[in-house]
């Protein structure tokens, strides 16, 4: 298999890299998304992620298969956490490997952009004085 998709309480950059690295791939591009400590000037205490896991896995698989089938990369790993995370902690990791770097950059960007639009995962942002579901309202 050339695709790894995973949702877990903790994810690991090295696992994604180990999965995609291969002697035929000269370029590996890695995206790591971490919890930021502020949003529009408000201090973020923590994030809580909820997911509809079987559908989220299926949508992540679709993204991964699209990059392999149409973007020219050889291997891809998409990992996302669920549950509670604090500033600095990792919530998403995407690694794409290809014979040459250009398509790996493109695939990595496509994968994170599409994940944010289609994968049923929801993020609740906790501030010192309240909490909101991110992007829920116009």
């Amino acid at each position: 298999m050339n695709v790894l998709v995973k949702i877990a309480a903790d994810i690991n950059v090295q696992e994604a890299l180990n999965f995609v690295e291969s002697p035929d791939c000269g370029g590996v591009v890695l995206f790591v998304g971490n919890v930021r400590n502020e949003t529009q000037g408000r201090k973020v205490v923590k994030l809580f992620f909820e997911c509809y896991e079987p559908m989220a896995i299926a949508e992540m698989e679709k993204i991964a298969q699209h990059t392999i089938a149409t973007m020219g990369i050889s291997r891809i790993a998409i990992l996302h956490i669920t549950g509670e995370k604090f500033p600095g902690e990792t919530v998403v990791v995407i690694a794409a490997a290809a014979p040459h770097r250009g398509v790996a950059f493109e695939a990595c960007e496509y994968a994170i952009d599409t994940l944010k639009q289609t994968v049923p995962i929801w993020k609740k942002e906790f501030f010192e004085d309240g909490a909101i579901w991110v992007a829920a309202h116009p």
Partner: protein
């Protein structure tokens, strides 16, 4: 029909799963949801997934379908 709820939709309904009256299709389900939980109308979008796939308004709902309410996603 049993319907799964997530994120803010779960908070609005106050439960992770509800049972609806019989509804023929996705459009009818959305109308039922908006009537029961008017706050859902304030959301940026409201999608319905049937058997773990996004469904359009015309899609019929059949007994045994796994139905889920998908408020605006915000992963990553």
């Amino acid at each position: 029909m049993r319907v799964l709820l997530f994120g803010i939709a779960k908070d609005i309904a106050g439960t992770p799963a509800i049972t609806t009256t019989a509804v023929a299709d996705v459009a009818a389900l959305k109308e039922w949801l908006y009537t029961q939980y008017p706050a859902l109308r304030q959301l940026r979008s409201l999608m319905i997934a049937v058997n773990k796939v996004y469904a359009n308004d015309e899609q019929s709902l059949l007994p045994g379908d796994e139905i889920a309410v998908i408020p605006p996603v915000s992963g990553g």
